[in-house]
Symmetry: C2
Subunit: 390 residues, 2 copies
């Protein structure tokens, strides 16, 4: 097991009506609030009105329309608003996209240069505005970590920024705010939770039994509850289990002591920088192909354990058969959840950019679970063009 | 799932050589340090010397011989030392007993009245000295929670104190410091981890699947690694897994959203206030009997799930049979680990105080998993007088 430091400063207010704590939380910092959100679902759900009423005596400046793959342009715009209005605290209302953008707005508003500098050089982040968020989608875990993924449509880059200063001060996680999330986004969010967990699970570290069991717990929770919420979107306990799973999958609890570079994420980030695919959908497409591609004599044991412990597959006479059944279950679970499972379904009509994407991704994958060359990545991407099983 | 607030301020430095961070951590508060420890194992292991060398330019005041069931007398003594020497920060080196006592010293040193007042009325704790600890036993989880258990030999009380101010500032958790823990204490510590987890697992809350899976993860980690460390006391990864399990079992991660009053702990606390039995040994004796006692038509399903998921028992035609096999595995695991499994083995030669003990415990057990009356508790205690299986 690797050494680690557990130091998570974010306070999580989990459960029904936790929004009642919002004024006290904001008051720690001041009355001038930048309210950030995405495409308007917070208005349709009524949450926007609730917030505006609760904060009647606050000075609220708004930044709406933050993109699904949040762009540095939104970060720049938010930082400008913070500077102009001498904002005291940022209130992000949304899923990972809104929270990620808001983290970088918090940093860029205290920086004299261009926001993209901070994305490229996270160590330059020295001071940040305090950030409080209200989570409306169970997916990225951004509500309790110090990472943000920001895209640049000009340079076709989508980069993961990490700096300890990016932890939100507090997150309000009320599962009822996810009742109105449509089926496709619920499925994609759950695929995202599973993707984070799977990337953590398949690592080269030995004797990390406890972390592996924790990963299996998160995966089984997703498998148990996703079909339930697709049937009953207002099932509180099912939504609550998924929401808590999303936080635990990415706040360090399952990865402390483990770690090592991820695999599919690096490919997906570049893929979606080219095609603006929702991250989780890209991950659901990539993961079963990546699994199949890296299955070999060295990895088969771990894939067989995964098949047995996560999917309840009975041990087969051939260990490769056990492993492959687990990979197939993963694929079919995503497929049965209504997620698109080929790249053409999400607008990638040809392989014309695969070579460039693989070129950009390969430097990140030399030390991952199984080292992947440019050619390996091209082959994985090509296998995403058609359904994987008939 | 219940509402919860996740707010753990303790920083955990986990792994080999993390003690290198100690001077920087202490320097946050000052140079006058109260060093607390237990019966001298820290001297035998060499850790004491390491600390003294590392802190050559600090003013160190020592409080040694903190008891296995730490007494309020030690707390009073420590508080007096802190006041006399104007201590800046407490450094606790040991297991849960030393850390628990040090938490209350931290509180009592800032209180004008008697330390026992604070044990009886934890809300009176307003200010505390900062506490840093170096963990040497994987067991109680005190290194990352806000609880302390303190005994009073005069009033025969052993009380659990909880106040958010009692979180240690930082904990140094280096698994190599547990290499020298003797087999019986290693087994008892692991039984303690399992006891915390089992108390959390058996709760009346529905639809807390994720918490249940996390509990199963901790239990399986204990079952996987305890036999290994009993064979190879210096197996780093096995010690590391147990150490991380001990923290996770009691820092809230497995209980957030669940909760409800515990059962066996309340009986054991009073039992060991009478007989000064090490807490974990008392728990290992009580738990299988408690399980058997509360097994009924309403609880059998959860006990059967426990048997299957934790102990790998195959479903039997009779669900009660499955459940009982799980209970038996629990008992035999403790027994095979060399733990005493009857009360006479730990000095309780007769049932003369059982009625008093049950009288004192019963008020805590009216709302536990299965409500237990005074008579129920007496029966459970009596079943601890003889081996449970032949």
């Amino acid at each position: 097991m690797k050494n680690f430091v557990y130091n998570i400063p974010t306070k999580l207010y989990f459960g029904k009506d936790q929004i009642k704590n919002l004024p006290d939380l904001l008051n720690l910092f001041g009355k001038r609030v930048l309210l950030t959100y995405g495409g308007g679902s917070v208005k349709r759900s009524g949450l926007y009105n609730t917030i505006i009423e609760l904060l009647a005596d606050y000075e609220i400046v708004e930044l709406a329309n933050i993109e699904v793959n949040p762009r540095v342009d939104s970060v720049r715009q938010g930082a400008t608003l913070c500077k102009e209005h001498q904002i005291d605290v940022i209130l992000a209302v949304g899923g990972g996209s809104v929270i990620d953008a808001s983290k970088m707005i918090a940093a860029a508003s205290k920086y004299d240069g261009d926001a993209w500098d901070l994305v490229k050089h996270p160590k330059r982040i020295e001071e940040v505005l305090p950030l409080i968020d209200i989570l409306t989608l169970s997916a990225t875990g951004s509500e309790m970590n110090a990472s943000a993924v920001i895209s640049n449509t000009i340079t076709k880059e989508k980069l993961n920024v990490y700096n300890k200063k990016l932890y939100p001060h507090a997150s309000i996680c009320d599962p009822t705010y996810t009742f109105s999330v449509p089926k496709n986004q619920t499925a994609a969010g759950t695929a995202d939770i599973m993707a984070h967990t799977i990337e953590t699970y398949f690592s080269i570290e030995d004797d990390v039994y406890i972390q592996d069991k924790l990963c299996e717990s998160i995966l089984k929770t997703c498998i148990h509850y996703l079909p339930m919420v697709l049937q009953e979107p207002e099932n509180y306990d099912a939504r609550a289990n998924l929401m808590w799973a999303s936080t635990l999958a990415q706040n360090g609890i399952i990865s402390f002591g483990k770690g090592g570079p991820w695999s599919s994420h690096h490919i997906e980030h570049i893929l979606s920088a080219y095609y603006d695919i929702p991250h989780a959908v890209g991950m659901a497409i990539l993961i079963p192909r990546w699994m199949n591609y890296v299955l070999n004599q060295n990895t088969v044991k771990q894939f067989a354990v995964y098949a047995e412990n996560v999917w309840g597959i009975t041990q087969q006479s051939d260990i490769f058969k056990t492993a492959r059944l687990g990979i197939r279950e993963t694929y079919e679970f995503f497929s049965n959840s209504g997620l698109p499972l080929t790249l053409p379904e999400v607008g990638v009509k040809s392989n014309e950019h695969f070579s460039e994407i693989a070129e950009l991704a390969s430097p990140y994958l030399t030390k991952s679970y199984i080292s992947l060359s440019k050619d390996d990545i091209i082959r994985i991407l090509e296998s995403c063009m058609n359904p994987f099983y008939n």
